[in-house]
């Protein structure tokens, strides 16, 4: 009789899988090439899991069925991105199979995987094999076929894990863009990581001390030309021949000797030719004998391949920028501006030295420029820099907007010394106003602050307190002028509407460029940078 599992187990599994995914998220992001190389999959799946966890934390019941409802709700609402949505459908399926049950059995879990698979496929308008969908399906099929009914959940999930590993490894053979990039599918890897988290929890192993496993592609990868001298591809040559009594067959036979991918189509007056040849001049010269040539297009295919490589491989940068950030908006801003890795700072913007080291390790280069983005994080950052084997330089950014300015100043084509100087200078040229609520009464210099008042810190120094935010901004504005660019990052506890109203206050002072950006930071309702 297989044992049954209760609410505590379920909670533990979800929490462990989330923590596990958190460790792997940056590397999963780096795998992203499909459907678009936007580097989001790991983060999206993590945010989805975190939303589930949050909803679960709000659910006080230990009844598995009720918890499943909370899980499904959290998943649906928190689903982010393509991969997040697929994941949420799987959770929805699991929740359906567990609904109404006080405790669950391994068979319930298998049923849940089946339903989750069906929902996941249905939820995608054009399901593509070689992605997370394939792994989910193959795991579900394998588990369903398992007739041995006295497996406990741990054994079942270990089996699922090995099937998933195999499936993830094979994704490049199913999806050409993965094969060309030489990576497994990011979503598939993410799903594997979640299963791995479940297993770690059920076996009672500590997720804190171990490292998530990354599956390598199981297919031979395409030969990658390393130098420009390596010739292989030749010229893609296309042209139109216009003439009289052109003999398409004869032309085709003659040109087949000159290269490959030969296509010759047309009639006695017009023939279109396409081929890949190392000597386009020779081909054109011969074609001149058949008629006049038109619409001639010659492309060096080595260049096309190199271009493609540069775009799809996680680019082996000489130096990468790693930033610490909290607030999903800020994380996105840093990634969009070119940070290779963003280390989640947590609610209090307080990552451990180990967290920072992991971020450094995950960066795709031997040299790293590290942005702590908080005065409190600088010591841990410097410690991590000392401990790391990589060449790490800490740019001492004291807050998030300083980090943004530094990242904007970073030029991947420039050498490190130039960049470090530019980035440090950028940090010093920006002023930052942080706005939050006072949690207690306080006296600060000449300021008397009441609990609940809105307080403003300019470059870390408390300068004003006011009953409301508009009042505060109006009060401190004179100290912020003159200014050319103001960026208002609004946090989780603020609203875009209010942010836009504040933006208006700045615009009324004649500041030319005022931008409102979602920062999502948990602590300060507004972080405002002034340049």
């Amino acid at each position: 009789m297989p044992r049954s599992y209760d609410g505590r187990d379920l909670r533990g599994m979800v929490a462990a899988a989330t923590r596990w995914l958190e460790k792997a998220a940056f590397q999963i992001d780096a795998l992203n090439v499909f459907p678009v190389p936007d580097g989001d999959t790991g983060t999206n799946m993590l945010l989805t899991m975190k939303a589930i966890l949050q909803e679960l934390e709000g659910c006080s019941s230990e009844h598995v069925g009720e918890m499943s409802q909370a899980i499904a709700r959290g998943a649906l609402m928190g689903a982010r991105g393509n991969s997040g949505v697929i994941l949420s459908q799987v959770w929805k399926g699991l929740a359906a199979a567990l609904s109404g049950k006080e405790v669950f059995t391994p068979q319930d879990f298998v049923q849940g995987m089946r339903e989750g698979t069906a929902l996941a496929y249905k939820g995608v308008s054009r399901p593509v094999e070689g992605t997370m969908l394939t792994v989910i399906r193959e795991v579900s099929e394998a588990l369903s076929q398992d007739v041995v009914t006295d497996h406990d959940l741990t054994e079942l999930l270990e089996k699922a894990l090995s099937i998933a590993a195999d499936s993830v490894g094979r994704t490049p053979s199913l999806l050409p863009v993965l094969k060309q990039a030489g990576v497994v599918d990011a979503g598939a890897q993410g799903f594997y990581t979640i299963l791995e988290g479940f297993v770690y929890h059920l076996k009672g192993e500590d997720v804190e001390s171990a490292t998530p496993k990354f599956i390598s592609p199981a297919v031979p990868l395409p030969r990658l030309p390393m130098t420009a001298e390596e010739v292989g591809y030749g010229y893609c040559t296309e042209f139109l021949i216009r003439g009289r009594e052109l003999k398409v067959e004869k032309i085709r036979r003659q040109l087949e000797k000159e290269g490959d991918s030969v296509m010759v189509v047309g009639d006695s007056n017009t023939v279109k030719v396409h081929l890949h040849t190392p000597d386009p001049g020779k081909v054109l010269h011969r074609a001149l004998g058949w008629g006049s040539l038109h619409d001639i297009l010659i492309r060096n295919m080595d260049d096309q391949y190199k271009d493609f490589q540069e775009k799809t491989l996680p680019s082996p940068r000489k130096t990468a920028v790693v930033a610490v950030a909290n607030g999903e908006g800020f994380v996105r801003v840093f990634r969009s501006l070119g940070a290779s890795v963003v280390i989640p700072g947590g609610t209090t913007m307080n990552p451990s030295t180990k967290d920072i080291l992991q971020g450094i390790e995950a960066a795709p280069s031997e040299k790293v420029l590290l942005l702590p983005n908080n005065s409190n994080v600088i010591p841990a950052a410097e410690q991590a820099a000392r401990l790391s084997d990589k060449q790490v330089t800490v740019i001492p950014s004291r807050n998030l907007p300083q980090g943004v300015a530094a990242l904007l100043a970073f030029n991947p084509e420039a050498d490190d010394r130039v960049n470090i100087e530019a980035m440090e200078k950028a940090c010093s040229q920006i002023r930052v106003l942080e706005v939050t609520q006072a949690v207690r009464r306080a006296r600060w210099g000449r300021l008397r602050i009441k609990r609940g008042e809105v307080i403003g810190l300019l470059d870390g120094e408390l300068i004003a307190a006011n009953r409301d935010i508009r009042g505060l901004i109006s009060e401190v504005l004179p100290q912020l002028l003159p200014a050319e660019v103001v960026t208002i990052y609004y946090g989780r506890s603020a609203s875009e509407e209010e942010a836009q109203e504040l933006a208006q206050l700045f615009r009324e002072e004649g500041i030319p460029e005022v931008e409102v950006v979602y920062g999502g930071q948990p602590s300060y309702s507004y972080i405002i940078s002034v340049e």
Partner: protein, 275 residues
């Protein structure tokens, strides 16, 4: 011995009248809006191009001149020697076409890859034409140009919208500037024949300031041009400010249809040759 002939292509964005005055032959590239094909600068002028760019649902595509287009010009040279200087081979197949044509037709044409474009190439053609007038031989002109090309030719610009370069597949190393969640103004340049990122700034004003700073960092300038796609007044003002740094002739030019396809409206550029 007759004057060396100077040939370039329409991507050089030579200001109107300059090609005629200096006797430079300009071979047009092609710009295609859907089914309609135009010869750059012949069938389509810049203003009409930008009007179409901003109203047409189809994005234009460009194509290099065919070898036959070059062959016609090379044949006309007869016994004369020529310098045929063109847009970077990393950005266009134009040089390839020229070389094909030369192998078909023969003749004394020195085909030179400018590793630049727009007035980067244009200024080189202008210098070449002036040297030709002074009576320099084709070999001497070729040598001088080849000395300048590797690192004395600078082209950079403030791009208003990176999408045109992105969709046109010419963003090159400046890819890193894509996808920013903050409003930024990118300054791009052409180096070693391809597009590369120079700097990202937050405002247009700052970008123009930076471009002026970049020019003043060059110790000595022998030729200078200011380019715009759709903002001639801005270009004039920029040229005014450059008069404080350079006392020679500052060419004012517009990004033609081919360049315009990639730089888009609202772009401002500076081309200069050191020396």
């Amino acid at each position: 011995m007759s004057t060396v002939r100077i040939i370039t292509d329409s991507t050089a964005d030579l200001p109107s009248g300059v090609a005629e005055t200096l006797g430079i032959r300009v071979i047009p590239l092609y710009v295609r809006f859907g089914e309609e094909v135009f010869r750059d600068g012949v069938d389509l002028n810049p203003d009409e191009f930008y009007r179409r760019l901003m109203t047409s649902p189809i994005l234009p595509k460009t194509a290099a001149p065919s070898p036959e287009d070059f062959a016609q010009v090379y044949r006309e040279l007869g016994e004369d020697k020529a310098i045929s200087i063109h847009i970077s081979s990393k950005l266009s197949a134009t040089c390839d076409s020229a070389r094909q044509a030369l192998s078909m037709v023969g003749g004394s044409v020195d085909i030179i890859d400018s590793l630049s474009c727009s007035m980067g190439t244009g200024l080189l053609a202008i210098l070449a034409a002036e040297w030709a007038r002074q009576g320099l031989s084709a070999e001497e002109i070729g040598t001088r140009l080849r000395q300048l090309i590797p690192d004395k030719v600078h082209l950079f610009g403030l791009i208003d919208n990176l999408e045109y370069l992105h969709k046109g597949g010419r963003l090159g190393k400046a890819q890193v500037f894509l996808g920013s969640l903050l409003r930024i103004k990118p300054i791009l340049g052409v180096k070693d024949g391809e597009v590369y990122p120079v700097e990202r700034v937050r405002t247009r004003t700052r970008a123009i300031e930076r471009m002026l700073e970049l020019v003043s960092e060059v110790s000595s300038i022998q030729a200078l041009a200011v380019l715009h796609s759709t903002t001639p007044d801005e270009a004039h003002r920029l040229a005014q400010q450059l008069r404080n740094i350079f006392s020679g002739q500052i060419y004012l030019s517009q990004f033609g249809p081919v360049l315009g396809t990639y730089v888009g409206p609202g772009t401002l550029g500076i081309a200069l040759i050191e020396g």
